[in-house]
Symmetry: C2
Subunit: 277 residues, 2 copies
């Protein structure tokens, strides 16, 4: 499988606005609708961000089954009715305009990265909103776990692994993971805190040797930015909501729309709603 | 909506065999395949039991979406490919024969309760295995929470509520709950321990006043047996995997197969696998 095409996320991460962390989700969606773009880490802090993947209704069962069979990379937060661009997770939102940047896929190829997909919309599109690891970073921070990519003002590094997802109908593909270097003294807290958030990827899929996941070079992520580890840090890998995009590349449905990596949909839900206890 | 038809579960609960708690899941499935019937509470202790609902492929997307939109009553543990009677959760199992008793539904009406559904099987049937509250009872016991219906040798009482599930396509229906009386001193542990098991209904949907769920008389459950509370016990309600059967009754798909309430499918999975931390 060819490396996933990095486009928008290759540029330096710049917080869209110094005040963006204090925006309401509605304000964030409105700004993005007006054309603002950029990674959403830290925007509308405390509110849940989601990965988007929309496929034709003919592919919706396969996609929903793929998510059900692979709940760690693909935890489903909402599924729309065919053709609808609204979601129960965000009052007044328009999924066609309210993300900073989208990706348009034809036959598994990335063909465009627009900031608005009204021109690409179809009446048979079913949209899936998938949990995002940005949601568990507040829990890591609250537990005192340092988050290196945030300290360094970068997007989280993401890697395509050699671990295959469980197929579903015509959909198959590798698991994508995000990686955070964690000091050994904080490893237990990192595992436990994210485990309490199963709807946003849950506990790590692997800690330690990257080669166990077929990752050759931590300095060259397939998505996002490289991150500088501190001496002694252990690389910790969580399942990532970019996995459905890898399935699109591997399985080649005729059409799909997704978010651009790191440029997520802002819901009205609060992160703590997804904590099980 | 008419009361759900209680048939098999109205008879007294008798443990199928004094040794049944020590059976392996494979042995349990084999005994049920040979014709043994009865409630499965306590059988193959420590192994995960599951609710079954099988619908024609034409209804599978609606059912999977219904489960996704209502994860507390309908947590999906596995979905088969159309026509297949095997599951990744149980090596060598046959979903057509290995449950103690089934229910056959036509146009939303319960028409038969056989112990084998090979004669009813269809090549387009998609089977859903749904988490069961029997799985969290070990966690309650381990935390010292008394389980009244087990103490009294009865099936857990289940009630149809006035709380409606979020509809999905042609499927709609009320949430069904199971009820356990819990002493106030154990309430916190009961909520916390079950919260750690979101794949098997998670934390309670309600504690206290039954009328908040539209339940008039705790002594007259819609499924299962009445249970005797001790003075001071608080009724605690958990979402129940019989909910898809209520959706079948309300939505009337042309055909469905389910387990009989309390007579579950024994998987090879271990209960603790579903604990998030």
């Amino acid at each position: 499988m060819a490396p996933l095409a990095p486009v928008a996320e290759d540029r330096p991460v710049v917080l869209v606005d110094e005040q963006a962390h204090a925006w309401s989700p509605r304000t964030a969606r409105s700004r993005f609708r007006q054309g603002l773009t950029g990674p959403t880490a830290g925007v509308a802090a405390g509110h849940t961000q989601a990965n988007l993947i929309a496929v034709p209704a003919d592919w919706a069962y396969d996609m929903l089954l793929f998510c059900t069979r692979n709940p760690q990379p693909c935890p489903v937060l909402d599924v729309t009715d065919a053709g609808s661009w609204t979601t129960a997770l965000a009052d007044g939102a328009d999924l066609r305009t309210d993300l900073p940047r989208y990706r348009v896929w034809r036959d598994g190829e990335l063909v465009e990265e627009p900031t608005d997909v009204r021109a690409h919309w179809r009446d048979d599109l079913v949209s899936f909103l998938i949990g995002c690891s940005f949601t568990f970073e507040w829990a890591l921070s609250a537990a005192g776990v340092p988050i290196r990519h945030v300290e360094q003002g970068r997007n989280v590094p993401m890697f395509v692994t050699t671990r295959q997802c469980r197929p579903a109908g015509r959909l198959r593909g590798p698991m994508v993971v995000s990686m955070r270097p964690v000091p050994p003294a904080h490893l237990d807290a990192a595992i436990r805190e994210t485990g309490l958030l199963p709807a946003v990827h849950g506990s790590p899929v692997h800690c330690g040797d990257p080669s166990a996941l077929g990752i050759g070079d931590l300095g060259r992520p397939d998505f996002g930015d490289p991150v500088q580890a501190q001496p002694g840090d252990i690389p910790v890998f969580w399942a990532c909501g970019v996995t459905p995009q890898a399935a699109v590349m591997a399985s080649r449905p005729p059409f799909a729309l997704t978010h651009a990596p790191g440029q997520m949909f802002l819901t009205d839900a609060r992160d703590e709603q997804y904590r099980v206890v």
